[in-house]
Symmetry: none
């Protein structure tokens, strides 16, 4: 027989559309209930239950019972890493889900993509940071420059805390509405969190829309065009 870690078993667990949808929904780090995950995946609760049982048996996710809810989370940062690498490959080889996107202008303007900013604002952020020499795109992907590290600290982002995670700091993510890159990875996520904290933007409930306040958007524009 063959030797080595059984990657097929793990990959097969990620290789079902319903399960992949659930897992990407969990990438935000938030714990979600079985019902929420079922809706996220577009399947009935029974089907979701079966998938969740498989993912748990495979130690991809863990669950925590609380009252009559069951909260699921990814079992470790390596799962996030795997999902991000797979997203990168899917982008490269052009395996994108093509759906005639909702024409909702707010969604096109600013929305969350897992846990970071996407849409026109996300693309603007990526371009602004690049223009200012704060991030650089090389053969190994995107990375913070020395100036970028300074910028992050000044903006109130604890890079050490992010570094300690296994997840890559910066990563490109193809924007489906703008067809350009926006910034993913733990730094991308931290930036969006900071925008929330500063009160520049809020997430609209039950939607992927990120709504910037007038003042918030002004300050955001200033930040990326400094």
């Amino acid at each position: 027989m063959k030797e080595g870690p059984d990657i097929a078993r793990v990959a097969a667990l990620l290789g079902d559309p319903a399960r992949a949808n659930m897992l990407t929904a969990l990438m935000s780090g938030r714990a979600l209930t079985a019902a929420e995950l079922a809706q996220e995946a577009g399947v009935t609760p029974q089907t979701a239950s079966s998938h969740l049982a498989k993912l748990e048996a495979g130690l991809i996710i863990t669950q925590r019972k609380q009252g009559r809810h069951r909260y699921f989370t990814l079992s470790g940062p390596d799962i996030v890493e795997a999902l991000e690498v797979l997203m990168g490959i899917a982008n490269r080889v052009g395996h994108n889900r093509v759906r005639t996107g909702p024409k909702d202008p707010e969604l096109r303007h600013a929305r969350v993509c897992y846990d970071h900013l996407a849409g026109d604002m996300g693309v603007a952020l990526f371009e602004g940071l690049t223009q200012q020499g704060l991030i650089e795109t090389g053969i190994n992907g995107v990375a913070l420059t020395v100036n970028g590290i300074e910028f992050a600290n000044a903006f109130g982002i604890d890079l050490d805390a992010l570094h300690s995670k296994r997840r890559p700091l910066c990563r490109e993510c193809l924007d489906w509405s703008a067809r350009q890159s926006h910034l993913a990875g733990s730094f991308g996520a931290a930036l969006l969190d900071r925008f929330y904290d500063l009160g520049w933007a809020k997430r609209v409930a039950d939607s992927r829309i990120v709504r910037f306040s007038t003042e918030g958007e002004r300050q955001f524009r200033e930040l990326i065009s400094r």
Copy 2:
């Protein structure tokens, strides 16, 4: 509906045992023929052909026709990355088969992981440097100690030049054959470069194997056990 890269499609391609075996065989960097891959996967040539067609259609591998042979290679370094991450997960969750890591003993001994040294030699390097107090592992990752800086200068590594790059100087990287850490980051890469320069080791063409000369390995052992 959903947006974004279609992870499931890519993961499903990696999620079949036969295909996963083929892909891991290709991780060595060598181009292999359809027949070799069939044997590696333990399936008949017909079945292998079908799998290879799928992998090629999914742009996971590429083929090169040469005479009546067809040589297959992975389509990019991101595939290697994905396989390594998946191996890490499989290890963590205990989805193992008999032995870990690459089959080829030379690959297990010393190979490149992107641009730094991995395998038994890589792990030995990491341990040796730690033992001598040249690097230290803290909550924020690995860092050079004062003695380590001295060591680096004495060994002919220009730390200032490395510092100017945006890439972290030291970084831990889990070795998938030895299941222990080896040293990545720009310092890890610089060390390997230095080994090449000193003639201690050479990279084997069309492969990830790093081959140390007898004398080179002796000096390497001395360096890390001083």
